[in-house]
């Protein structure tokens, strides 16, 4: 049995915020695929839970009139992966979603939980980083919007205060329109495994030059990161094999991977370059550019 002292199961967000405000010690449980495993392993103990599983208002994906896409945090990875809006406008997020866990995990694990868990290996994170996703966070007093790139504080840590609930992930039209993306997850097993390293790239090519390029990495630093130095280096340069190599090398200027049993630092640095190269070639091809003479 899990070491749970108490569980609240509100059915509206208002009710959940009320409970959370008066019980700041509560631990939020969303899909439960991380929290219950932590409890099983004894990493959490005697915990009081606030289940947001019944908050149907936080489920689903909306396409707003200005082209903004809003994803409720309680939307599962299966729902995202099968969603028409996502597949039509931001297929890279579908690709990232289906790489996560296995089918039964994806059926219950939520994108909000994946983010708030703060894991450096979170499969949704690099993609949401390149999409410049905004997070809508509410508490009893109001709403704040935080760019996901400023949300992570360290391994397993995010900037969420007690009393606050992440409700939606917001992706603006300017961040996906005309852009092509590729997510590559590298892990020991093809399914049911955590990323040893992950790369998301998103870009726009005009006259065989990157007019916009974004690269994000997972498991390459204490938080998911954007490779801002490589990105600005790539801007408006003519695409050639040599350029792709240089961009991939420059990703290391932002990365600082660690050595762990899953992979050594040196191996991860190698993966960062190789996978970035592969992902860049994919998006260049998709956007009708070419790197060979």
């Amino acid at each position: 049995m899990f070491s749970i002292k108490k569980i609240y199961q509100p059915i509206t967000l208002a009710e959940a915020l009320e409970i959370y405000t008066s019980n700041p010690q509560l631990k939020i449980i969303a899909g439960g695929t991380d929290v219950l495993i932590s409890l099983h392993h004894g990493k959490l103990d005697d915990v009081e839970l606030l289940s947001i599983k019944n908050l149907t208002e936080l489920t689903g994906i909306n396409y707003l009139t200005d082209g903004t896409i809003e994803i409720g945090t309680m939307t599962t990875f299966t729902e995202i992966f099968r969603n028409e809006i996502i597949n039509k406008y931001i297929p890279i997020l579908a690709e990232a979603s289906v790489s996560m866990g296995g089918p039964q995990i994806r059926n219950n694990a939520t994108i909000g939980g994946n983010i708030c868990n703060g894991a450096v290996s979170a499969d949704s994170a690099p993609t949401l980083f390149v999409l410049n996703a905004d997070l809508r966070i509410v508490n009893n007093e109001g709403v704040r919007i935080v760019p996901i790139t400023e949300f992570y504080a360290g391994p397993g840590k995010v900037k969420l205060q007690s009393g606050e609930i992440l409700t939606h992930i917001i992706i603006k039209k300017a961040d996906y329109k005309g852009m092509y993306g590729k997510y590559i997850k590298f892990s020991n097993r093809k399914a049911m495994d955590i990323a040893m390293l992950s790369v998301a790239t998103l870009g726009k090519v005009k006259n065989n030059k990157f007019t916009d390029l974004r690269i994000a990495l997972g498991v390459s630093a204490p938080t998911p990161i954007r490779c801002t130095k490589a990105e600005s280096f790539a801007f408006n340069k003519t695409i050639k094999e040599e350029l792709i190599k240089q961009i991939s090398e420059k990703t290391l200027l932002n990365a600082n991977p660690r050595h762990s049993w899953r992979g050594s630092k040196v191996y991860r640095e190698h993966l960062i370059q190789v996978l970035t190269e592969r992902a860049l070639k994919e998006i260049i091809t998709m956007s009708g550019g070419k790197w060979h003479e």
Binding site: M1, L36, I37, G101, Q104
Partner: protein
């Protein structure tokens, strides 16, 4: 004092009113309280798929799903598949294809396969492999399981 909660469970079309300990997983309740022992406990952390049941039609690892989450939900286990002593088509296909050895992983995979068949969707071979990738089998080497799943999807 352990906190208890009253829940309604519909398991294989039968309604159960239960008082469950909030610390219990759905797996605990299905096996130990209701004796649906076809639901197997393997890894206990959602990685092996042996405990897979359908919750409102969706394959779910019942070991990492709290019993209190299941209030009002329709649960299906392997015990609910045969009708009047006759195995379901999926069950029969697993036998016909020799997809069972020790049998421990079988109930879970049969439930996932049942959900795939009932979804009415078509699956490529690669998609079939992806959809059953949440089940570990330590006997068969997966080819016969794949064959049984494919046959079940072709059968419809």
């Amino acid at each position: 004092m352990n906190e208890m909660k009253k829940i309604n469970l519909i398991v294989n079309d039968k309604t159960y009113q239960l008082e469950v300990d909030i610390r219990e997983s759905l797996l605990d309740v299905l096996r130990n309280r209701l004796h649906f022992t076809g639901v197997k406990e393997g890894c206990s952390v959602g990685e092996c798929g042996a405990c897979t049941v359908l919750i409102d039609g969706v394959p779910t690892s019942s070991c990492i799903y709290l019993a209190v989450f299941a209030d009002g939900k329709k649960i299906r286990t392997i015990e609910g598949l045969e009708k009047d002593g006759k195995l379901s088509k999926v069950q029969q296909n697993f036998i016909d294809e020799g997809a069972i050895q020790c049998g421990f992983c079988t109930p879970g995979i049969v439930m996932t396969t049942t959900a795939l068949v009932e979804s009415g969707n078509k699956f490529t071979d690669e998609e079939i492999k992806r959809e059953i990738s949440g089940h570990f089998c330590r006997c068969t080497g997966y080819q016969k399981i794949f064959d049984a799943v494919k046959k079940s999807l072709d059968d419809k």
